[in-house]
Symmetry: C2
Subunit: 134 residues, 2 copies
Amino acid sequence: MAERPVLSKWEMDVARVVWEIGPASVREIHEHLSKQRQIDFTTVQTYLRRMESKGYLNSSLKGRIRIYSSRTRPGTVIRENVNELVDRLFGGEYMPLVRHLIEDRGVDREKIAELRELIERLETEQQQKGTADE
Amino acid sequence: MAERPVLSKWEMDVARVVWEIGPASVREIHEHLSKQRQIDFTTVQTYLRRMESKGYLNSSLKGRIRIYSSRTRPGTVIRENVNELVDRLFGGEYMPLVRHLIEDRGVDREKIAELRELIERLETEQQQKGTADE
DNA sequence: AGCTTACACGTACACGCGTACGTCATGCAA
DNA sequence: TTGCATGACGTACGCGTGTACGTGTAAGCT
């Protein structure tokens, strides 16, 4: 578990783009981000540089163009961030967050079905582990 | 929905204490926090000052002691933070986060029961709304 | 060959945050 | 009544972050 400095708010957006489009030049990443918000080319460049030095990205020169690629999988970064929030806001317990989410946001039929299916699956997995114990 | 500057990482911890113990002096809050981590009295004082100017706290002098109390309910702040994270990491969709939480952390029997109960309840609520539609 | 464009890279700068010191006033003890 | 303790409040400082400019250089166009 690499001990990385955290990604800042906006760096995270850059990371999301890199995950989405894969290894890419600054320009490509910038173009992608520009669709979502006004942001300067060199600002993106700075983000990428910093993210590389933080260990989140790799880069190499292809000709005179620098290509950045991700060193971290989305799942890892998401987990780190979610854990952080769960610790901070819910004292490390994640069920209250689950509860908050579905109570606060509300669920339609579709989501209920999804949840139902999910716990169905988890229960059978659980049972398999369970039979070993008893 | 007051447009407040966000609470920083550590300010959040202070907020949690204020929510927990209610209106309190700097010293009381500092003592509470000290149990969790080494932190200077005046640092807490600075946090409280800044949090008041951000609109999260009220304060008044009781004699020569300043008493801080919360202007915001935990639910509100939690919601803001969770929304922020859901936007940033999951593009605004909260179900992927629910999924992430229970898949990543795993659930024991107890939690499955809790979930089951929760969606049971939601379903009946849903149904009541549903009958109006059809 | 000279000019323009595109890009890398160093540098900058203001603001927020985490942390704390120093000063001044006030209340209590001797 | 003269200290000492306690607390408020102003101030500071370094680091991270959001943002971008300026300079140098290489590639392509004329």
